[in-house]
């Protein structure tokens, strides 16, 4: 029986258990549910959980363990000369066996008979069915594939039986426990609590897992390239063309990328902070509730636009516009119509990224400014200060720590932003300070290092993980510092 079918049966069992359990509980109470400790539905849920939960756990464990066991058995059954080969070649052979096994399932008995044990014919027959093989299968592979199929079949049957038996036992046992005083509600709630805990741990465990894998890969990279050269190197030249040639490892200096990242982020903040802050002040202090209720969601829609769209906008509109503008200015000033702003430049990327960040700045600051207690405004207004004086001298200073926190969070977004810079900033890893020239960022380089077809063991690709972990640490520090500031600020008014 296939796994989805088993799951469907389990679901049906759960529904039946729920109905039966509920009815049974009501029957015990003589139709008067107030005589029961819990509401009848809880008894039904309890029976359903007891039936399905252990069965589902058994199913999951089986699905994980059985292929592991079968695979190792099959590999153990390979001829000695195959076993003597390298690990990679054994893996390749096993892959073939797997494909064969899948293919032989599709073939009808007639076809198998017809093909017999002729490897070449088997291959073409399978190819006709859409299963491509890497090479002609060797005879031992066909044999192993047959074994594999047989073992899988047995495993599947046993699993189906065990799971269903466990479900029925669970249902039966829990059914007999239903009584007046049985605390079904407490048990059900404990299961729900467990589900909540599992759900929240998944996010945390995933994060840890990602960091771990990045660390491991970065560790491999630092095994090839000294950390000192990576963190303090001033030349980025990974030498794609020469990858694989052992003599040229390339140079992986982080500094030009980091500089580009920070420079573009800085330009973006130059655009986003004033505009965002002013719009936040207008929204929170001056706008009428009616206008606010329309304008604020509109502003926040900006935050929902995918960044690739911004990148597109930068590439096709802003970049060419700035380039043409610069050539016109140059022409008027000197008579020479050469553009001094490149289409892909720090300015273009920074400007568009700044536009993207406006809603973050304004929305976060708006919340913080609105949180400044009304009493402070009243105090200032009551002394004869105008609204603008109140905002400048009382509200903004009071909100400042929170606003700084919000800006730091925004900055960490700017540093991690990828799509806009990929399209608008260029790919040249250079160290320079002219905003009209292209520069590149850490994120751009991660993309370009990973989108080649290099193998994953060369430093050219492994460096992406080192870059990733560096970026992660930087944004993590910014975020933690921002949270710290915001929290400290909250305490002031609570």
């Amino acid at each position: 029986m296939s796994t989805p079918l088993i799951l469907l049966i389990l679901a049906i069992i759960a529904i039946v258990c729920y109905v039966v359990g509920t009815r049974h509980a009501l029957a015990i109470a003589g139709g008067l549910s107030s005589k029961l400790h819990s509401r009848p539905g809880y008894y039904g849920s309890f029976v359903a959980i007891c039936a399905v939960l252990p069965a589902a756990i058994v199913l999951a464990a089986w699905l994980i363990a059985s292929p592991l066991y079968i695979n190792s058995t099959i590999r153990g059954g390979f001829p000695e000369d195959v076993k003597a080969r390298s690990e990679a070649e054994q893996g390749l052979a096993f892959g073939m066996v797997n494909s064969l096994a899948r293919g032989m399932d599709i073939l009808t008995l007639d076809e198998i008979d017809r093909v017999g044990s002729n490897p070449a014919e088997l291959r073409s027959a399978l190819g006709a069915k859409g299963v491509a093989l890497a090479g002609d299968p060797e005879p031992y592979m066909v044999e192993s594939a047959g074994d594999l199929n047989a073992m899988n079949k047995i495993s599947n049957r046993v699993m189906t039986a065990v799971v269903l038996i466990v479900a029925l036992i669970g249902a039966g046992l829990s059914y007999t426990r239903i009584s007046h005083r049985f605390r079904a509600r407490n048990r059900v709630e404990r299961v729900i609590l467990g589900a909540l805990v599992v759900a929240s741990s998944i996010a945390i465990i995933t994060t840890i897992g990602i960091v771990m894998s990045m660390l491991t890969e970065a560790g491999h990279f630092f095994g090839r390239v000294p950390a000192w050269e990576f963190f303090f190197g001033t030349v980025w030249d990974p030498r794609f063309a020469a990858a694989g040639a052992s003599a040229s490892e390339g140079q992986f200096g982080l500094i030009p990328l980091l500089l580009g990242t920070l420079y573009i982020g800085f330009v973006a903040m130059l655009v986003a902070v004033p505009v965002g802050l002013f719009s936040a002040i207008y929204m929170s202090e001056y706008a009428s509730p009616k206008l606010r209720s329309i304008a604020k969601p509109l502003l926040e829609v900006l935050a929902g636009i995918p960044t690739i769209v911004y990148g597109f906008f930068a590439l096709t509109t802003v970049g060419p516009f700035l380039r043409d503008l610069s050539s016109s200015i140059n022409g008027i000033a000197t008579g020479d119509f050469a553009n001094f702003i490149q289409a892909q430049s720090v300015l273009t990327a920074g400007f568009v990224m700044g536009i993207m960040l406006i809603p973050y700045v304004s929305s976060l600051s708006d919340d913080i400014i609105t949180a400044v207690p009304r009493a402070l405004r009243d105090g200032s207004l009551g002394l004869g200060a105008t609204k603008s004086e109140t905002i400048k001298k009382v509200v903004m200073p009071a909100a400042l720590p929170g606003v700084v926190g919000a800006l730091l969070m925004t900055a960490s977004r700017a540093i991690g932003e990828t799509m806009i810079v990929v399209l608008a900033a260029g790919v040249a890893a250079r160290m320079q300070l002219n905003p009209f020239e292209p520069m590149t960022t850490v994120t751009v380089k991660i993309v370009s290092q990973l989108t080649g077809d290099l193998e994953f063991t060369s430093p050219q690709t492994l460096v992406a993980f080192a870059l990733g972990i560096t970026l992660f640490v930087i944004t993590l520090c910014l975020n933690i510092y921002a949270l710290f500031i915001v929290r400290k600020y909250r305490e002031q008014y609570e």
Binding site: G379, S380, G382, L383, G384, A385, P397, Q492
Partner: protein, 271 residues
């Protein structure tokens, strides 16, 4: 009969001879919050250099009336005021009147102490700076010291003028707010339940301060405490359901009020 009318005449004459000076005059003041009417044609005059207490149960409109006196209601969305209020001779709701100037003349102290998150010195200097009352640093020092002296806080804070105002105790914070209001030398000070967030000792200090301030300022205070009204005020006005029930000398209000509702409220029968 004859005796009574004679006494009444004599009293009227007495009044005329003493010629009460009114600082603020409220005529037919009504306030609406959107559709809801919060104040009904209140006629209440505030005497100069006198403490006037506004009492009444919660939601009776006493705070609303207080806030009309320096147009703090302007900051509330959908609030509308009708009628006429004058400060000395000026109609404070006149279009010509600058609300900023008005609030400099009619200061306000709020229910909860609301010092700015700045130093003690900066809290006091805030108002004078906005209104340009000090020519130089020495002037400002002078104003800060005088205001803190007036609020009876100088001795307690003179060694830590540049520490945060929010670090003071609740009572000190409230006196800081009073000093802040005094610093712009207003003519009238409005107090909206200034002691409701304070403990009894801090309350006693603030009450003592109100007593002293009376010599230089006209004070209107909203309070929930009958005892406080009796202790600090000379005139008392009783509000109920948005109407002015009675306004009288405090002594008379608490011994022999004209209106039954005042009597009931003071005796604690409602509110």
């Amino acid at each position: 009969m004859n005796m009574l009318s004679e006494a009444a005449v004599e009293k009227a004459l007495d009044k005329k001879m003493n010629e009460v000076a009114y600082k603020m005059i409220g005529k037919d003041v009504s306030v609406y919050y959107g559709e809801k009417r919060a104040l009904f044609d209140v006629n209440l005059n505030v005497r100069e250099n006198t403490v006037t207490a506004l009492i009444g149960p919660s939601g009776c409109g006493k705070s609303t009336f207080l806030r009309t006196l320096n147009r703090m209601n302007d900051t509330i969305e959908g609030c509308r005021v009708t009628g006429k209020i004058t400060l000395d001779e000026d109609d404070i709701y006149d279009k010509e009147i600058d609300v900023v100037e008005l609030r400099a003349r009619v200061g306000m102290v709020f229910q909860k102490p609301n010092p700015f998150p700045k130093s003690i010195y900066e809290n006091i200097a805030y108002g004078p700076r906005i209104h340009g009352l000090a020519r130089n640093k020495a002037d400002m020092d002078q104003i800060v010291e005088a205001s803190l002296q007036r609020a009876g806080l100088w001795a307690e804070v003179k060694d830590r003028l540049h520490e945060g105002g929010t670090g003071l105790s609740g009572g000190q914070q409230q006196r800081l707010c009073i000093a802040r209001a005094v610093a712009v030398s207003p003519e009238v000070i409005l107090m909206d339940e200034p002691c409701s967030a304070l403990d009894p000792i801090a309350t006693a200090k603030v009450e003592e301060l109100i007593h002293e301030l009376r010599a230089n300022y006209t004070i209107v205070i909203v309070t929930h405490s009958m005892q406080q009204a009796a202790r600090v005020s000379q005139r008392t006005a009783m509000f109920h359901l948005g109407q002015l029930v009675e306004e009288n000398d405090t002594d008379k209000m608490f011994t022999n009020p004209d209106d039954q509702r005042t009597q009931d409220y003071i005796m604690g029968r409602f509110g």
